[in-house]
Amino acid sequence: MAQTAMDSAFSTRVLNATLPVGTSASPGTALAVTGVGATAMKLKITSTASTAGSGGTDIGAQTGYASGGMSFANACAVSSAGSSVTMPATAAMTLTATSTLSIVSLEILDSGSGRVWFGNWTGQPIGVAIGNSFSAAVAAISAGGF
């Protein structure tokens, strides 16, 4: 199910970077100021709902999941002709619960851990008992459509 999915602050940066809001009506530069870098983006999993204005509550450290999010291990295929980007790329991303989890939302974080995209997992809230694993299959998540 498609969802409203872009962090409002990041949405503002996209608009300002691609519309004539800069000096002499040139495109703004807001997008390039922050949020890019050489380090991997992260998938953050939350126990409360993310909204356009605020992030959800991180599930905290689990086996295979560092507090604040798990890094994408492989580059995803680039968008072409407006196609969506699907993730994860070549391998599932999996964590094993070391505490009782109720999983609600996901967030895609940029290299500076700034929130970019967000959405709810299908079927949320998803209960994951201690010792059980939660896994996002290859291409479980897609983002695009604008």
Binding site: A2, Q3, G119, Q124, P125, A129, A136, A137, A139
Partner: protein
């Protein structure tokens, strides 16, 4: 999809909450009859698989595990939920029930030979979450 990590038995969960007039994203929980209320219960490992066959909620048992009793005495011998479940199951089957509290040294997450924990993997399948900005988003 839910898959037993032990024997590989798989099951597919379906959220029926909308048909019950419940929006789990608002309620914060699923309808009692929905698979998502107890995902671990959707997998039924066949007899002889070596997986736990006790008629209880594996998720509840796992969440009740106090852990920390590998190669050691049970940290909660008088209240160990696994020992209680184990002995109760023996009684139901008419088998000899050991006396005393949990002796420890077994039954625990990650403990070899544990017959209580039955870990599963809950997989979110391909193309199941679409993030698409919408007007006003």
């Amino acid at each position: 999809m839910i898959q037993c990590n032990g024997c590989g038995t798989t099951a597919f969960a379906d959220c029926i909450c909308p048909t019950k007039g419940l929006d789990p994203s608002v309620a914060g929980q699923h309808h009692p009859e929905c698979d998502f209320t107890d995902l671990g219960a959707t997998v039924t490992c066949p007899p002889g698989s070596g997986c736990c066959q006790e008629p209880h909620s594996h998720d509840a048992a796992a969440n009740a595990c106090p852990g920390g009793h590998e190669k050691a005495a049970c940290p909660a011998p008088a209240a160990c939920p696994h020992w209680q479940l184990h002995t109760a199951a023996l009684a139901v089957e008419g088998l000899k029930v050991p006396s005393g509290d949990c002796p420890g040294g077994h039954h625990g997450l990650g403990v070899k030979g544990c017959a209580v924990c039955r870990p599963v993997t809950i997989s979110v399948p391909r193309s199941s979450v679409a993030l698409t900005p919408t007007t006003g988003g």
